[in-house]
Subunit: 192 residues, 2 copies
DNA sequence: GGGTGCATGTAATGGGTTACATGATTCT
DNA sequence: AGAATCATGTAACCCATTACATGCACCC
């Protein structure tokens, strides 16, 4: 809800634009689906927090361009003043690793390789975003965008380090499991 | 749902125990509320994935102790084989920082200080968990628990570094804002 | 001709938190 | 006396994703 308000302080936009912008620039810490965006915009408009103007296009469908109102800015402010409480992320990968002894190291290694791919792709995306920000230094928010981006970079680097370290640990674990005295109740897994 | 199954492979437990265990050991990457745990246990029991035995206690209410069944283990296995897809966390703090120019650096600094407190508390909690794990090396899952814990440690360290760096950046930003030519449309904020 | 992008929207479904209710014991 | 802990459970509610629907234009 308030994301939309916040993004509309940058410039007036349509719901579609908002969706694009979200997945291009803040997806690494916030996401909204269109199933969320459009109804929320309607609500915000009904409450007088934003106003919409229809923009006609040839060939393409009409666009509803929304602008934030004074009332909207006030609402955004009030929300910004509320201290964000830490939220517990749900990390399915970690959960599966936690029960790793059931799955065996082979499966986990695949998951980690895939994770590394994703994280490296994210790093590239960050590079792209960084260039976008430095093109738009005229906006007063630009330094803050940079800070949010930096969070993503630092976190992803940490993830990469962890994943690499973990792959090494798993290697050792499967070597230990292969030694004769290491096998107790465990059923031997096919392959490594 | 499957967390419960997974945790019950460690040993038979009650819903209450599961809740305790979750918040003591895996809260940093997974959480379930009792409003979720109890109904899920009922469902799992109805499906034959776990079985419950009533344990009577004097003075205290009866406990339903659940054990995982063979069918339950199979279900857990199938779930473990499904590749976890990356999930986008929602970080309200980052979102508020992203719109930082609206709120001003003072508010953000408070949020960051609070965040640092939380992260440091988490580090301490991790120390506690680490000691618990090293007491329970007889479990075959122990190395995997260690890996999951390591993730938390590395991530939290990264967060701390980012927060400290960001506090320094904000300091600079508010100094720049104070210089005469830097003030355009911005209302001056009380205190720095 | 078929897929993709633009653009908006709704409905079904699933997930999860919060708040409430109960009731006994133990601690302060 | 009152609060907290143990222990289980339900109901209301909010939020979010997914899938579906429409319709035109452009490209291969």
């Amino acid at each position: 809800m308030e994301v939309l308000l916040g993004l509309l302080t940058i410039e007036p936009m349509s719901g579609y634009d908002l969706g694009q912008l979200i997945r291009e620039s803040i997806r690494h810490f916030w996401n909204e689906s269109y199933g969320q965006i459009y109804p929320n915009l309607k609500q915000l408009a009904a409450g007088g927090f934003i106003t919409g103007k229809i923009e006609k296009q040839k060939g393409k469908p009409d666009r509803q361009i929304y602008s934030i109102t004074k009332k909207g800015r006030e609402r955004l402010m009030r929300w910004l003043e509320v201290e964000p409480q830490p939220e517990i992320p749900r990390n399915e990968l970690l959960l599966k690793i936690f029960f790793g002894a059931q799955a065996g190291p082979g499966t986990l290694r695949n998951y980690l390789e895939r994770m590394l791919e994703n994280e490296r792709a994210a790093l590239q995306q960050f590079g792209f975003i960084e260039r976008e920000i430095s093109k738009n230094t005229q906006y007063p928010d630009a330094p803050y965008w940079q800070i949010a981006l930096r969070f993503g970079q630092i976190e992803v680097e940490a993830h990469v380090r962890w994943a690499e370290e973990t792959l090494a640990v798993l290697q050792k674990l499967s070597r230990v499991k292969q030694t004769p005295q290491g096998s107790r109740k465990e059923k031997p897994h096919a392959g490594e």
